[in-house]
């Protein structure tokens, strides 16, 4: 009950302040945007924490490209850009985004920004390991394993084929002579059926 009363008081304060402040805010924003100023929300807490206003740099492709290479440190396994535009409860990705924007505005290159984060957070902040040293194994082993398996398979099959061909060349005394023309007809018919 105590919490409900507190909630009621909160709403009352929000509604009252909305009524009082609204004309002021509306005047202020109307000068900027000439848009309709919306009402204060009856229950702002239901839409999560208040958000920073979106600016043009938030959608800058260069910023997005950097953030897509860096993992959010909240433990969500998403990159910073995806996390900050998806998980609106996360407080880490907006903070990391601000850092990226800050360094970008200071004129640092993408490479410098990424190196800064790797130095501070470790290699795990990269969404994919750098293709060097031991990490090369990560990139190359699947392809090499598959290529090796393919070669082994091809070698094994050709050896088997030789064995089959050799056994097929052994004349069977009991078998009647085969008419090549009939065999060709049979093969054509089989091709037709099996295709």
């Amino acid at each position: 009950m105590r919490r409900s009363r507190r909630q009621f008081l909160g709403w009352t304060v929000a509604a009252t302040s909305g009524m009082v402040l609204r004309p002021l805010v509306a005047q202020d924003v109307a000068a900027d945007t000439a848009q309709v100023q919306g009402d204060f929300l009856r229950d702002p807490s239901s839409v999560g924490r208040l958000r920073d206003t979106v600016t043009a740099i938030d959608n800058d492709p260069a910023i997005i490209a950097i953030e897509r290479q860096l993992r959010c440190t909240c433990g969500c396994t998403l990159d910073i850009y995806t996390c900050r535009t998806t998980d609106f409860t996360c407080t880490y990705s907006p903070a990391l985004h601000k850092e990226v924007v800050g360094m970008f505005e200071q004129g640092k290159s993408a490479e410098e920004i990424i190196i800064f984060f790797v130095d501070r957070e470790g290699e795990k902040i990269l969404m994919a390991p750098v293709a060097e040293g031991f990490n090369m194994a990560g990139y190359l082993v699947p392809g090499l394993a598959m290529a090796t398996a393919g070669l082994v398979l091809a070698a094994w099959l050709s050896r088997r084929r030789v064995a089959v061909a050799a056994s097929a060349n052994v004349p069977d005394a009991a078998a009647p002579p085969v008419d090549p023309e009939a065999m060709a007809r049979l093969q054509r018919a089989l091709d037709e059926v099996e295709s």
Binding site: V25, Q37, L41, P44, V47, L50, D52, T85, L157, E194
Partner: protein, 680 residues
């Protein structure tokens, strides 16, 4: 009810143990009554676990919050349909769900399998029992894994279900995946039974084929619904994030797909017996591996259950099952000699082998990428992240190779393809692929991977069309049937083959949709009511989004803040889209979780308009949005429907296609003798 639940779990454990012990150590081969007792232990195990499940459901529906699981995953105001899904929403409940479904499958395997295979059934019962009682043992003996655990007090209301799980997709997705995972135990049990009974012709394949297809279908549907849930619920606008738990569901699907292809070679030609055995064992082990990843917390994932000691049980079970299964396979190795040899690499057998190579290669690369962070930490002591960029880089070429083989396989004749055969078969599909790629280049597409993917999709599509067309034409020539009657008869008389082709089309649709999803348009904006933002789609349309305002209201167990946008495409109004913030509350009106987001989507065959209400910057109706245009997403869901249809068609009972395999299955008495004789 918890006493009844506990008692039922113990009863299930003891009955299952008894059945399993008798199956492996009892001399039931000479005693039909004992063999029957073993198979009946499956029914008793199932009955005991059904009672345990009813006990848990009674606790859930009765709001018995003294049961820790009920208090942790439900609340008084949780809608009824989510009370049902709460059964498998948490670690403990999902363990019971796994055990009871496996026991039902075990009982069905006994009830539905032909008496021709009765010599294998006690082994099948024994193996299914052992796997089931492993899950029961985890519930009984692992810390905090018992769903009937009681609290020291009774809270007035439960915590409720995680909002992200309060989605229709989550009622269907987990059970479907579980059904796929769980039902894989039955093909594994048949494979082990065949090895133990030394009945290693095609008989075990006939006995378990439907089970393998069932597992594959459940896994496919489960994965697709999981993709849909991720798309409509998580708000990032994608369907697959290469998360370790997602990868864990893909791994057995890949190996099972390889098995379903290679087993055809065993049925037709008596080849690849060892390979098929290894594949089915590997697939089963991958389901346990996936469960280990999901439940141990050893690898970071957004989907996993909380870290617990349960993981060690699964790791131990994985190791023991792997060692025992492969040891058994090794001891039966000589009995698995092929009945014929590959005559040419340019043959359907050869294409299937390379298809297997591609599928296993992808499975290996996914497994490798999933485990590489652990390996890196062990070798270098450095933690790394292996995320989507890695998996895309490694798997896209392999996936395209697989798509290529999907088109090649049906075009090559069995045994040996002649040059004339190849020319005749390939002309149209290759032309179709080239035309598709050419048309896309003319339309302005310049991305190489996308061109290859869509060109190959064209190649595969024309391959399948050609197969259908030739079949219908042949029926018209032989029986004078019309196009429609010819099509119906063609498919119904060879459901497996043509059902498979429909699945191939479904898969190419997935590839098309994945290709489209690589070209999203995305922006974030803040809008006052009446203010607009524009976004240009990859297909060149300009969408205008006008913010209408935010309304707040209460619905069911949540307080909703709904932000509405009016959408116009190229200046023409197409309608409104609503995205919501939901603050879930308990029955006392207290918030239970952080506010969650419900995305708004308007979909057509070309592209999806995808809107996410991120919140408000200043507590007013001014709203922050993520706006996305995702091309071709609808084709995932069309592909999913087609895949289900094709899979069901393939599984449908009857049809003449099983005759070849049945011919290969020797009469019951002759099995072991002839095979052993051939090998020795």
């Amino acid at each position: 009810m918890t006493y009844l639940g506990q008692f039922s779990l113990w009863a299930a454990f003891l009955v299952g143990l008894w059945g399993g012990a008798l199956a492996f150590f009892g001399r039931w081969q000479e005693r039909p009554a004992l063999a029957r007792a073993i198979t009946r232990s499956s029914y008793a195990l199932c009955a005991a676990l059904l009672v345990a499940s009813i006990a848990l459901w009674k606790g859930i529906f009765g709001h018995d919050f003294n049961i820790e699981y009920v208090a942790g995953y439900t609340s008084r105001n949780l809608p009824t349909y989510y009370l049902i899904s709460a059964f498998w929403a948490g670690q403990k409940g999902s363990l019971l769900f796994w055990a009871v479904v496996l026991s039902i499958f075990g009982a069905l395997a006994q009830a539905l399998t032909s008496t021709r295979f009765k010599a294998m059934l006690p082994y099948v019962a024994g193996i299914a029992n052992i796997v089931t009682i492993f899950f029961v043992a985890v519930m009984l003996f692992a810390d905090t894994a018992n769903p009937f655990e009681r609290l020291a007090f009774t809270p007035p209301d439960g915590r409720g279900l995680n909002p992200q799980l309060q989605n229709p997709g989550m009622i269907i997705h987990p059970p479907m995946l579980y059904l796929g995972y769980i039902s894989l135990t039955i093909p594994f049990a048949f494979a082990m039974a065949a090895l133990l009974a030394k009945q290693l012709d095609a008989g075990w394949i006939i006995a378990m084929r439907k089970w393998a297809l069932t597992s594959w279908l459940f896994l496919s549907i489960g994965i697709t619904i999981g993709m849909w849930w991720a798309y409509v619920e998580l708000g990032w606008g994608g369907v697959w994030a290469w998360d370790p738990v997602e990868n864990a569901s893909l791994l057995p699907w890949l190996t099972l797909t390889a098995f379903l292809h290679s087993v055809m070679i065993q049925e037709k030609r008596g080849m690849l017996k060892r390979w098929n055995m290894a594949l089915i064992v590997g697939t089963f082990l991958l389901t346990i591996f996936g469960t280990f990843i999901t439940r141990s917390g050893v690898i970071a994932s957004v989907h996993s259950f909380t870290q617990s000691a349960v993981g060690y049980f699964f790791l131990a079970f994985l190791l023991v099952s792997g060692i025992l299964s492969f040891t058994l396979l090794y001891t039966r190795w000589p009995l698995l000699e092929p009945e014929s040899q590959l005559e040419s690499m340019v043959s359907r057998e050869g294409a299937f082998l390379y298809n297997n190579l591609a599928l296993i290669g992808i499975a290996f690369s996914v497994l490798w990428g999933t485990l590489f962070p652990i390996l890196s930490e062990a070798v270098r002591g450095t933690k790394i992240t292996v995320g989507p960029p890695f998996f895309n880089r490694v798997n896209i070429p392999l996936g395209l190779f697989l798509l290529f083989l999907t088109g090649v396989g049906p075009l090559i004749a069995w045994r040996k393809a002649s040059l004339a055969n190849l020319r005749r078969q390939f002309v149209l599909p290759v032309s179709g692929g080239l035309l598709t790629a050419g048309a896309l280049v003319a339309a302005g597409l310049r991305n190489g991977w996308a061109l290859i993917a869509l060109g190959l999709a064209g190649f595969v599509f024309v391959t399948v069309l050609q197969e259908f067309w030739r079949g219908i034409r042949a029926r018209k020539a032989m029986h004078g049937e019309s196009f429609v009657i010819g099509l119906v008869n063609l498919v119904s008389r060879n459901r497996r083959r043509y059902g498979g082709y429909i699945v191939h089309v479904a898969m190419l649709l997935y590839f098309v949709a994945f290709t489209g999803l690589a070209f999203p348009a995305k922006t974030t904006v803040d809008l006052q009511p009446g203010q607009s933002a524009e976004l240009r789609s990859p297909f060149g349309h300009t969408y205008t989004f006008t913010h209408m305002g935010v309304s707040q209201y209460t619905a069911l167990n949540r307080r909703v803040s709904a932000a509405t946008l009016e959408v116009a495409k190229d200046g023409v109004r197409v309608g409104t889209i609503k995205s919501e913030k939901r603050q879930h509350v308990d029955s006392f009106g207290q918030p239970t979780f952080e506010p969650s987001t419900e995305v708004g989507i308007r979909s057509n065959l070309q592209e999806d308009v995808y809107v996410v209400y991120a919140g408000s910057p200043d507590g007013t109706e001014r709203a922050s949005y993520s706006l996305l245009i995702n091309p071709l997403v609808a084709w995932f869901w069309i592909g999913g429907g087609l895949l289900t249809f094709g899979g069901l068609l393939t599984m449908w009972p009857g049809g003449p296609q099983m005759k070849t395999a049945r011919r290969r299955a020797a009469p019951q008495s002759g099995y072991a003798v002839s095979m052993a004789g051939a090998a020795e």
